[in-house]
Symmetry: C2
Subunit: 189 residues, 2 copies
């Protein structure tokens, strides 16, 4: 029996994020964030993997990279990669992503942030897992680049997942690892 | 109360692995496999992250990359990265890794492979988690590059973890994502 698909989208924010000293910046899109995270998103059957940046040249870069794998030589060479990168959707900002999900579902998504630091409005992994499994509402999961999502976004979100703790107090995972672990916790078998 | 440290090492094999057509090859070391996997290893308090390749020039590359973060400009700029990359140990082959663990512990590690394909000698995640938590013996976890670990290594191992299944039949995760998810399943809180 096929399980019902979870109504989950993810977004990788490149703006507004913070730098090492806490200032708000826009970070650069990287090829590997597109590939690694698209492959995880496809594995866990995520609806869309939005890549949010306000910069036009960065949209061009995203489209250039994905076109190679969707329509170029890469599509024939590696159909599995095509399947993954087909989930990548460039977006100008978080509001545009929320609008698109709203339009698709006729319902606003629950906006849930992730962070290496503890937040006040925590939702537990098992509770969000239950929410997704029972399709209580669409969910949009936010991941940050650089030194993390800016406070102005964190504060507006509906909830925040607790930081990933391994067997140490070290909390410097790559965003690629964080997405992998969090999707497995929420949707893995 | 501090939990006892799990006696776990991991190794990323660059030889013998297979290519797209199933031939045995040696793959190239990549900068990002060193960084991303070292950060995960540090998060989950893994003893050592061995990077196995028989090629002398690849050992030089590993040492050049890690030296920047351990002793060069990177060490002052990003101490958290230094802490992670301090776990990276170049090795010439799997036997050398096993010998080193043996010497450290006075006991052979349980050698456990990982793969995107189902293997005969499966150990379940919860059983290996129990094994680690109770320190039944040292464990060495093997990860492959390119199209996966060659059969000759898979057949000699003590056990194999089942492939990671998300919410689909898609099984093309990056090795960086696979390490992240597997360490979280075995050691995560």
């Amino acid at each position: 029996m096929k399980e019902q698909r979870a109504d989950l989208d993810i977004v990788l924010l490149h703006h507004p994020v913070t730098n090492k000293t806490g200032e708000t910046i826009g970070s650069a899109v990287t090829n590997l964030d597109l590939h690694d995270i698209a492959r995880v998103a496809r594995t866990y059957d995520v609806c869309n993997y939005y890549v949010a940046t306000p910069y036009e040249d960065q949209h061009e870069l995203i489209n250039e990279i994905t076109a190679h794998w969707l329509k170029g030589h890469g599509a024939a060479y590696n159909p599995a990669r095509k399947e993954a990168l087909g989930l990548v959707k460039p977006a100008y900002n978080l509001d545009a992503v929320i609008d698109e999900i709203n339009e698709r579902n006729g319902a606003s998504p629950l906006v849930v942030t992730t962070s290496a630091k503890k937040q006040k409005n925590e939702v537990q992994y098992e509770d969000l897992r239950y929410h997704l499994r029972n399709n209580i509402s669409p969910v949009l999961l936010l991941f940050g680049t650089a030194h993390g999502i800016a406070d102005e976004v964190m504060e507006k979100a509906d909830a925040a997942l607790p930081p990933i703790r391994g067997n140490s107090t070290y909390n410097h995972l790559s965003v690629r690892s964080a997405v992998s672990i969090i999707l497995d916790r929420l949707l893995g078998r």
